[in-house]
């Protein structure tokens, strides 16, 4: 559901094949058993990607005042950016990049459920708190728009990813620009996956598995 590659990948020369970074034809993905029955077609199942990457670039930007924020819904809700697929057996692998600027990005899924909290009860991201506004916050250094490292995975009707874009204090106004590279993949179910397919498939967890520890 969410993957962040090491920022070192953006800074060093490495031999990297496209399939190392993006799902390509023949790649395997597995949805965990935690996906609810509303996503029965995916829950606990293993799939193979059917075609080479079809990548759709997109971008959004906002001019925001300092010490203020805006929540961006990535789903197909009325007020959302509508980046989710509309059919079952389709997975959108989305690389998210940030242009440089004096801002932070907090990630929620769904709204008000932060992803990057720690175990202690008070250690959750909070843009109103001088210290915890930095907890779990992503910046352009974590996923530069020229070499995005943050991946989100979308299927039809799954809970909305929310990006909370917070402009730091002591800035009058900032233009926050976020880029998306959406790899559209069609999936074919593997009805009797081998042990190799089960272990090597990219595991897509449900959001409830990302927190609480």
């Amino acid at each position: 559901m969410i993957v962040q590659l090491s920022p070192v990948l953006a800074k060093v020369a490495t031999y990297t094949r496209p399939e190392d970074l993006l799902l390509t034809k023949g790649a395997w993905v597995r949805f965990s058993e935690a996906w609810p029955d509303t996503h029965r077609w995916a829950k606990g199942k293993v799939f193979e990607v059917q075609q080479e990457p079809i990548i759709v670039p997109y971008a959004t930007s906002y001019i925001l005042p300092g010490d203020d924020y805006k929540d961006i819904d990535l789903s197909n809700a009325t007020e959302g950016l509508k980046l989710y697929p509309e059919n079952q057996a389709v997975l959108y692998e989305t690389l998210v990049g940030f242009k440089p600027g004096e801002y932070l990005c907090h990630i929620y899924v769904p709204k008000d459920k932060y992803v990057y909290a720690l175990g202690e009860a008070s250690m959750y991201p909070d843009v109103a708190d001088a210290a915890r506004k930095y907890l779990g916050a992503k910046t352009h250094l974590d996923s530069p728009h020229t070499a995005p490292l943050l991946k989100l995975y979308f299927i039809k009707d799954m809970p909305a990813f929310i990006l909370r874009l917070y402009v730091l204090e002591d800035v009058d106004y900032e233009k926050v620009a976020v880029t998306f590279q959406i790899n559209k993949t069609q999936l074919r179910e593997i009805e009797n996956p081998t042990l190799e397919q089960l272990t090597k498939a990219l595991l897509l967890r449900y959001y409830t598995e990302l927190t609480g520890f």
């Binding site: 906002y62 001019i63 005042p65 203020d68 929540d71 600027g101 106004y173 620009a177 880029t179």
Partner: protein, 112 residues
């Protein structure tokens, strides 16, 4: 790099508009004032912010990013180094305390 040229006017004159997903930076600013009086030039950045958590209905903002005074019969060039901290978000206009076509303002800029 793109350039924009206007002459001094007490009504703000548009130099350029920054693209939606980009920010602008001045890499040079040249003012050649052959008018008969000193000219004070301000570069304004004009934009309407997006709605945010604290401001549901934002209004248009005009922010002065650069100001300089050029004596009559002289010229001033500001380098990229002295302009690098002026980030531009919207429409960039030049406004002066005089209206005179003999005072020419040239901005060299980059969008990123």
């Amino acid at each position: 790099m793109p350039t924009a040229r206007v002459t001094a006017n007490t009504t703000a004159q548009t130099l350029f508009t920054v693209s939606k997903h980009k920010k602008g930076k001045l890499t040079a600013l040249n003012v050649d004032n052959q008018a008969g009086s000193n000219a004070t030039i301000r570069l304004q950045d004009i934009f309407t912010p997006d709605a945010s958590a604290k401001v549901a209905s934002p209004t248009e903002k005009t922010i002065d990013r650069v100001q300089l005074t050029v004596a009559a019969g002289s010229s001033v060039s500001l380098s990229e180094d002295s302009l690098k901290n002026a980030e531009l978000l919207g429409t960039v206009k030049a406004i002066a305390n005089i209206t005179d076509t003999a005072c020419v303002i040239v901005a060299v800029y980059a969008l990123d």
